[in-house]
Symmetry: C2
Subunit: 394 residues, 2 copies
């Protein structure tokens, strides 16, 4: 009798029947990890987080915090090798280690091959081109000298291939005079689109390839910091444009061929064309409203994907606006939340602070969601909040 087969069979049925608590790891310990862990506590899952900073926003909310470098092969490999499933809350992770882990049977969502495409802006643009997904024209530049030769392509946006995040690694180059501001490293020079609106679409994909799509949201940006100023959801767009945006976002996500959750950022122009700007293979700032505004939040949804449960319901409970709480200009050091009491006294407002000890200009310190059936009230309160709450320091 083949005992090893017998043992395997026993173990297989044991797993089927007892479904022991899954072990899930998150690479990165920022606010996205923090909110993922708030939601994880509703599921039977044991959680791990790796991050270099032991006082990061997610560190105290997991079962096991591992101090380590998410860009380092050994750190990532050792972190993941005994886990059932791994995800990321930031793209700048070591994808070689993730590929090895995947080959050894660990579920990695998003898949390393998908992450590789997305985290390099050159590969991401080429992917859109290959898939005939509408995106602005672009030129690949290897260095500053290269960039100099494309003056005729201006105005354009220069984006570093790797390492950019939250507005860093992006440079607007309007005329030849700005050309020295460009990057002396592999980058994409994207033709400037005459943007009418920016929207984002969150889509979840499960292991079976089924998708769940959230209503597109309107994003209004702070031009200065290149950060989300406020967001309204669902987006107010002509139905035809909504359908186009959803269809394009679905195409992007399906062709990325990976379980996970994805944020597809799009532009509309003045000819009612829809263009893909970029895609994030993870929970995303533009989806934070879903915590209170949707039946299944983006965080809840990602756990469903990671733990192989049915996809959640993306329907809105109520329309919402989202305001980021950013560190005020001119203040660096221990954070003080000026005006917080006034905000907490508002009656349809939800405050999320990320537990970051120190503030600096433009740092994401939290967000606020407003629920209301009246669009005017959402707009009014979003503006009121932006003029009431300031994150300062001494």
């Amino acid at each position: 009798m083949d005992f090893s087969l017998f043992n395997f069979t026993i173990q297989f049925f044991y797993c089927l029947i007892f479904a022991p608590m899954k072990k899930a790891g998150i690479l990165g310990g920022g606010q996205l990890g923090r909110m993922l862990l708030q939601e994880a506590a509703n599921y039977p899952v044991e959680t791990w987080v790796m991050e270099n900073d032991a006082s990061c926003p997610a560190a105290h909310l997991c079962h096991h915090f591992i101090k380590g470098d998410i860009t380092n092969f050994d750190d990532v490999y050792n972190f993941g090798k005994n886990l059932d499933v791994l995800t990321i809350e930031i793209e700048s992770v070591n994808e070689d280690a993730l590929e090895k882990l995947e080959s050894e049977g660990v579920s990695v969502f998003p898949k390393p091959a998908t992450l590789r495409i997305i985290k390099n802006k050159i590969l991401q643009k080429q992917f859109y081109q290959q898939q005939e997904i509408p995106t602005s024209d672009f030129i690949i530049t290897q260095n500053a000298e290269d960039l100099q030769q494309h003056a005729s392509f201006l105005p354009a946006v220069h984006k570093l291939a790797t390492g950019g995040y939250d507005g860093r690694g992006v440079q607007i180059i309007k005329t030849t005079e700005d050309i020295t501001k460009g990057f002396d490293a592999p980058a994409v020079l994207e033709k400037m689109v005459d943007i009418k609106k920016e929207i984002a679409v969150m889509i979840a994909v499960n292991k079976a390839g089924e998708t769940a799509i959230y209503s597109p949201v309107d994003m209004v940006f702070d031009q200065h910091l290149n950060l989300l100023s406020y967001q309204m959801s669902p987006a107010t767009l002509p139905e035809k444009l909504l359908w186009k945006a959803e269809a394009i976002a679905l195409k992007v996500v399906k062709e990325l061929k990976s379980p996970g959750i994805f944020a597809v950022e799009l532009f509309t122009d003045f000819d009612d064309k829809v263009w893909v700007n970029e895609t994030a293979p993870r929970v995303h700032n533009s989806g934070h409203h879903s915590i209170e505004a949707c039946y299944s939040s983006q965080f809840d949804m990602l756990w469903r994907v990671l733990l192989d449960y049915p996809l959640g319901n993306t329907d809105h409970i109520m329309p919402a606006a989202l305001v980021n709480i950013l560190g005020a200009e001119g203040f660096t050091g221990p954070a003080i939340y000026e005006g917080l009491n006034e905000i907490l006294a508002m009656d349809n407002v939800f405050v999320h602070l990320y537990g970051k000890t120190d503030t600096k200009p433009g740092r994401k310190m939290g967000h606020i969601t407003i629920l209301s059936n009246e669009k005017q009230e959402l707009l009014h309160k979003a503006n009121q909040i932006k003029h009431t709450l300031f994150v300062k320091s001494k």
Copy 2:
């Protein structure tokens, strides 16, 4: 120059201006602590939990877990002495230690004097009597012999003065034949009320004595386990009865003279009288729907009280039903959630599992909230869930 005064002044203004993150402790690490900590992550607060079991539901969600006995004076005192504010998630804590901590300047909400009244069912009944709060007639019994002499008072409910929890320490005594089931320890013998409905009212009180009251909820009990079967909120009651229930609950909470959050459980009878059953000085099972159904959940609300922020908005976003997930009869050991996938596929349903490794009959393993504007749908889904989800073991 008086340097100590100078230093004190400097420190005072430092605290005013920099408002360093408050240190908050929770005594007890069960599901109530777990849900409190999920919510704590939205506020600038550093959290401590004390509980004997390092694998309890709340242990991994705080900044600092302390293994200790919440009924032991030294353990509680040492836990609390360096904290700013303390709360409880179970009544069976050492209130002598809490009183000492309070006298040394630690904020303890609920106040130890209030906790002392509530945690002893004899003192609690006497409190209602003194405050002329309608409650069923009662007799105090010191032991089994004592009880024997009150056969004429039957049918009645015998409740242990201290140590009862979740249906334990309560015995229905209908006739003299049942009298041997009574407790041979200090207890209250309460005259049986001919109950039409059971309702609960959650009320928060801040340091200034201001109150925020949640809509009363209907509670339907499992007679066998004396545990909540399902709950509907807001309660469906004639307006006059609602007002009466709210007025009585407010009177109870105001006379308890303590900041915190309170659950007042009431009966209505067939003459439309409203009686107080008992009060809990903490977040409570009957308020779990508020996580999704109300603008400020009971957990959010308690943090507002503990951290001295404005009280939240108790309004409903949508009506809700709440179903407890209890360990099935006949199963003890590692938990298996039979039917969980079917529940997660329902489109207006929110699942909260408490992360308890082992199940046993009647153990609270989680809860499910249903949101709908249609009462019939709430009822239908609550019943569907009760016939779909079972917590079993091998």
